[in-house]
Amino acid sequence: MKIDIILSGVGGQGIVSIAATIGMAAIGENLNLKQSEVHGMSQRGGAVQSNLRLSDREIMSDLVPSGEADLILSVEPMESLRYLPLLSEKGWLVTNTTPFVNIPNYPDIEEIMKEIRAIPNHVAIDADKVAKDIGSPRSSNMVMLGAASPFINLPFERFEEGIRRIFNRKGEEIVDANLKALHAGREFAQNRK
């Protein structure tokens, strides 16, 4: 069993918290794990991605080879398309639809959505809106993780555990907000799967 995930977004959007939560979930299942991160210059508002690989066998490469990613999980719509060469034929693309506009030539969002809809296995969710609607506007990343969770072959409780462990030191209120976000995202995706 192997799960190869590309997490993508813009520097500062906090994709590392998603990676850490999935990582925790994988460790709970005794899986091997390799997770690359971006540090340094590209972090400053540039395109960032993280390769996250889970397997019950030894994982060799820290990088996901082309055409082998099972999932692209993107917290920004344009960034979800940047890594398409890595997505496998049967892979899923799960993306937030709220654009992060920090460049003058950001394309027309409709053009971007057209490309996303052209991917047969996709879930497009306005995670910012969902997070706001459930009263925890800062947990859109966990909404995204929830929306991607049906495509990551791990028991759902593991994600809940992961959130508890990652956010534990920030207090119960934050843990609950993130758990709520996780559930809201999952519900959205399951209705569309």
Binding site: S36, R57, D62, R82
Partner: protein, 534 residues
């Protein structure tokens, strides 16, 4: 014992701690920064009172590490690849003096230049200095090599280089930790002149280093990090160095690998193992992340031996980071191709943060320079280098740490007036001060803007070595006090800041403008921290 989930950088740090280091020295630089940061956060380091503060630059770090080794204790020194250029003098000579306590030099290379101005391969420095080089292929090996690096260093009395690349430095995986060793006791070298590199002594020391080479080669042949895997398809043998080993095996996850493979993760090259694979196979394919060091060595200038393929003959790309796809193509496998990136996707380069003080500095500088022709601003290494991009297009150079000041001086010497340098506070203390002294000594007409955000920003906000003392240092170097100006780079001061810069641009001597405002990232973090404490 359960495994620790560590970045390659962190695995090295933990390995160093478990090897019994008494100190770690470093200057921040991507992708090496997290080694020191891990030790600084480590409870074990605190309990053991391991020295763990940032140095002013890589040269001072290397020298301090050598001093700790002189005193008999184990030391680690960490830097990015270009940092080793700064520290090259003590590095090369530490190979000649040799060490007393073990010393491991960790260098993190950045092929594909994710956050760097070149992609030089530090293994060449290791070969140049005639010291062993360890190149981990996994986080576990990174940990193990930190330990065995100290063994090797103390056995042969030489510094040992541990070289990794960005991909491993910044990738996390499970690491099994071993037992922690005690630190060494304070013990000075038996030969009191070992470290005195007067020519007569240096010649002797150099002969000792040379005489160790056979032993080091033998160590590589015996090393657990190097391995020969026989195979029945002898038409071509693969030599896979460091991370390339992973990329090779990745491609044979579901298909059997029939060719002989030599895994090389310890240098000098293991002579017997290389001879074995060369005599077993018709051709060799060398896979390495970095420059074609092994390939070139095996190929030879005259190319009269066995046929060697790799980066030099186009089997692999000549530049850039290696990846599993490159290796797949090189060994003749199909690469699964996903969809192309749609043309609608625009580039998203990094940019200065909203509210960053450098932005206000550039806005004022650009306006002050309006009446002059373009091409007068020499800059440096840091977040402010992003001033080269739209919408600023504000700078004309970025070469190496401190070069802004000295290049502005050289251009001024050539007759360019005004000539401007833009440098950050940490870069200024790293390598700008000596250049400023050159300017003062020659009374060169330069305007040096020190964009002082009170931190080492680009690498994530580490302590900057002279926070609060920058103006004193400039005056101490000899800049006339009336030409050391302090400005507050805020939008509301734009007019007065522009006027001050305009005036100093016209001054035909050395002037320094210190534009001081805290980095927006560290300021936000401080605020958050204060809030959570309340």
């Amino acid at each position: 014992m359960s495994k620790l989930l560590l970045l390659g950088d962190e695995a090295i740090a933990q390995g160093g701690l478990d090897a019994g280091i008494s100190g770690i020295y470093a200057y921040p630089g991507t992708p090496s920064t997290e080694i020191m940061e891990y030790v600084q956060m480590s409870k074990m380091a605190e309990e053991r009172n391991v020295f763990r503060r940032w140095s002013v630059n890589e040269k001072t770090a290397m020298e301090a590490a050598l001093g700790m080794s002189y005193a008999g204790k184990r030391s680690m020194v960490c830097m990015k690849h270009v940092g080793l250029n700064v520290a090259a003098d003590p590095f090369m000579n530490a190979a000649i003096t040799g060490v007393n306590g073990g010393m491991v030099v960790v260098v993190a290379d950045d092929p594909s230049m994710h956050s760097s101005q070149n992609e030089q391969d530090s293994r060449f420095y290791g070969k140049f200095a005639l010291v062993p080089v360890l190149e981990p292929s996994s986080q576990q090996e990174a940990y193990d090599m930190a330990l065995s690096g100290f063994d090797l260093s103390e056995k042969y009395g030489v510094p040992v280089m541990l070289r990794l690349t960005t991909r491993l430095a910044h990738s996390r995986s499970g690491v099994a930790k071993g037992k922690a060793r005690e630190q060494n006791n304070l013990k000075l070298p038996e030969d009191p002149r070992q470290f005195v590199l007067l020519p007569a002594i240096a010649r002797k020391r150099y002969k000792i280093l040379l005489s160790n080479q056979d032993g080091l080669e033998l160590e590589s042949d015996k090393s657990d990090f190097n391995r020969y895997l026989p195979g029945e398809d002898k038409s071509v043998g693969f030599i896979a160095c460091g991370l390339a080993w992973n990329y090779l095996l990745e491609n044979f996850r579901d298909t059997p690998l029939k060719n002989p493979v030599l895994k090389v993760c310890q240098y000098p090259l293991p002579r017997k193992l290389v001879e074995k694979i060369a005599s077993d196979c018709d051709e060799l394919l060398v896979l390495e992340d970095g420059y074609p060091l092994v390939e070139e060595a095996l190929k030879g200038f005259l190319e009269r031996g066995i046929k060697v393929k790799g980066r030099l003959d186009g089997t692999l790309p000549r530049d850039g980071e290696l990846n599993p796809d490159h290796v797949a193509r090189a060994v003749g496998l199909q690469v699964k191709a996903g969809k192309d990136i749609p043309s609608v996707v625009a580039n998203r380069p990094p940019a200065m943060c909203k509210g960053c003080s450098h932005i206000d500095v550039y806005n004022a500088l650009l306006e002050a320079l309006e009446k002059y022709s373009k091409g007068r601003v020499f800059s440096d290494i840091g977040c402010y280098t992003l001033g080269a991009l739209e919408p600023f297009n504000a700078i004309n150079s970025c070469v190496d740490m401190g070069a802004s000041v000295t290049m502005a001086k050289g251009a001024a010497d050539a007759g360019l007036f005004p000539s401007v340098a833009v440098i950050g506070d940490s870069t200024y203390t790293h390598s700008g001060i000596t250049g400023l002294l050159d300017c003062v000594n020659d009374r060169s007409p330069v305007t040096v803007i020190i964009s002082d955000n009170l931190t080492t920003g680009m690498t994530g906000g580490q302590q900057s070595s002279a926070t609060g003392r920058i103006a004193d240092i400039c005056r101490g170097v000899g800049v006339e006090p009336e030409h050391v100006k302090l400005i507050n780079p805020l939008k509301k001061h734009h007019g007065e800041n522009t006027d001050i810069i305009k005036k100093e641009l016209q001054y035909e001597g050395v002037s320094v403008i210190i534009a001081q405002r805290e980095c927006i990232q560290t300021a936000m973090r401080r605020k958050k921290g204060n809030k959570s404490k309340q």
